[in-house]
């Protein structure tokens, strides 16, 4: 009982620090997911380019990302790459997350592109639209719609994954929970609090993704 009261106390009194953490998580997620999207689009196009060497490059990238834990990727970028290029912590975090999500997004987009009926491509080309124009104006807009549910899901995963940047010292939501826990020598209430923040974010995003899905379904 008293531990529940204590938890509520922690939950309420810590809100300002957690909001700071939330803001960092937000910036980090948005930046990394935008970049991941561009990376994903790029490698998806490599994969369907029908040019062997480009396909191999894309395969290698996807294989490396899917074959190693995210935390290893982040640590290599943060601790390792600094020998070559010293990137600030925030951007190391962004880079690690984007590098990771990019591979999953590439697979989602590739799948969506390949699911578009090939008659669409032929119709575009028969009208004199070049390969690039057909891709940009005809195929991609349809592929993105089709990819919305999976992309939404991947974005939610990306936000949760962003918690790992706390291990390179960032004060994101999870980083805040860890340090507050350390300060007070009392981890549990802070971890439960941060769990609730994440649940809330994911809930909101899930609802938003569902709404968008429905909107898109209507217009079909």
């Amino acid at each position: 009982m008293s531990s529940i009261l204590h938890f509520f106390d922690v939950f309420i009194s810590s809100y300002d620090v957690f909001l700071d953490g939330l803001w960092i998580t937000f910036k980090l997620s948005v930046a990394s997911l935008l970049i991941a999207f561009i990376i994903g689009l790029f490698f998806a196009i490599l994969k369907i380019s029908n040019i062997k060497i480009l396909e191999w490059i894309a395969d290698a990238y996807i294989w490396i990302v899917r074959g190693t834990p995210l935390i290893v990727q982040i640590f290599i970028l943060f601790y390792g790459l600094t020998d070559i290029l010293l990137i600030p912590m925030f951007w190391a975090g962004v880079a690690g997350l984007a590098f990771h999500s990019g591979a999953y997004i590439a697979e989602i987009i590739r799948g969506a592109i390949q699911s578009i009926d090939k008659g669409q491509r032929e119709a575009g080309r028969s009208l004199g639209m070049g390969t690039g124009l057909t891709m940009r104006r005809i195929i991609l807009p349809q592929a993105f719609r089709r990819a919305v549910p999976s992309l939404g899901n991947q974005f939610i995963i990306g936000i949760k994954d962003s918690s790992l940047v706390s291990f390179i010292g960032m004060q994101d939501l999870f980083g805040v929970a860890s340090t507050m826990g350390a300060n007070s020598f009392d981890y549990l209430p802070y971890y439960v609090t941060v769990a609730i923040y994440y649940l809330f974010i994911v809930l909101i995003l899930t609802v938003a993704v569902n709404k968008i899905e429905k909107k898109l379904a209507e217009s079909d």
């Binding site: 300002d16 620090v17 700071d20 943060f78 601790y79 600094t82 020998d83 010293l86 912590m89 291990f167 390179i168 010292g169 004060q171 805040v176 860890s178 340090t179 507050m180 826990g181 350390a182 300060n183 007070s184 020598f185 009392d186 981890y187």
Partner: protein, 253 residues
């Protein structure tokens, strides 16, 4: 008190005289790292780190005419970060060791302390000898790893000393090696753990990137001044409650 001064406001720009040959990451700023998870040496208050380490770093910056810029980092990454030029210096309770000296230079010690064995009250560990074969948790990248290695192979390593103490209190592990001040603070914060003996004495110092001799000299100069003026002892009393900046013989057992 110096606590207020230590809240180094990043807008203050009265550091016109920073053209002094220190090789700094950012002109006019002293970028220093600490873990923020090592109460009372460094811990978070809001989104700022405070504590003894932080206060010392900020006092040094003031003496050097630089604006202090704190960087929170995982303890295990700090030495590497200084070595690679991610931070100018580290004021993070680093014990001077041979291994670390290969990567960074150290200033004069700014406090003295000793690693202590902590256990739960019901533990049958009463001295270092009893650690043999036990599970002894320590923070990753600390000097305690080496010490624990003398007694056991079973050494779970976590991200900060506080995490280790917290797990210990919750019933995990048999013992934790950490600094006695940190342990005391934990006990004051309600963790049910006990001090079961100290394993020697250590000197904690500021880490500086190798080759940045002007900066190292200036820091040593500043520390000397602070010791002589009693300012360092003041800071110690303010943040720790006792003076731990004197030479070892008067450290409590």
């Amino acid at each position: 008190g110096s606590g207020e001064e230590a809240e180094g406001d990043s807008n203050s720009s009265d550091n016109g005289d920073s053209e002094n040959g220190y090789n700094l990451i950012e002109e006019g700023k002293l970028t220093f790292a600490a873990s923020g998870e090592f109460k009372p040496f460094s811990y978070m208050e809001g989104s700022e780190m405070v504590g003894f380490d932080i206060a010392v770093a900020e006092a040094i910056a003031e003496k050097l005419g630089l604006e202090p810029a704190q960087q929170k980092a995982k303890f295990s990454g700090i030495v590497t970060g200084v070595n690679q030029g991610r931070y100018d210096i580290a004021v993070a309770s680093h014990t001077i060791t041979e291994e670390r000296l290969e990567k960074v230079d150290f200033s004069e010690a700014y406090y003295y302390s000793g690693p202590v064995i902590y256990t739960r009250p019901d533990s049958d560990i009463h001295s270092a000898e009893d650690l043999k074969g036990k599970e002894v948790s320590v923070a990753r990248g600390t000097t305690y790893v080496e010490m624990a290695n003398d007694y056991t192979d079973n050494i779970p390593q976590v991200d900060s000393d506080v995490v280790a103490l917290q797990s210990l209190a919750k019933g995990h592990h048999d013992a934790v090696l950490t600094d006695d001040i940190t342990g005391l603070t934990a006990i004051e914060n309600g963790l049910e753990i006990e001090n079961r003996g100290q394993l020697g004495v250590s000197e904690q110092a500021v880490a500086v990137q190798k080759g940045n001799d002007e900066l190292l000299d200036a820091i040593n100069e500043a520390l000397k001044e602070m010791k002589e003026s009693g300012e360092l002892a003041e800071l110690s009393k303010e943040w720790i409650g006792v003076d731990i900046t004197q030479e070892p013989e008067n450290i409590t057992e």
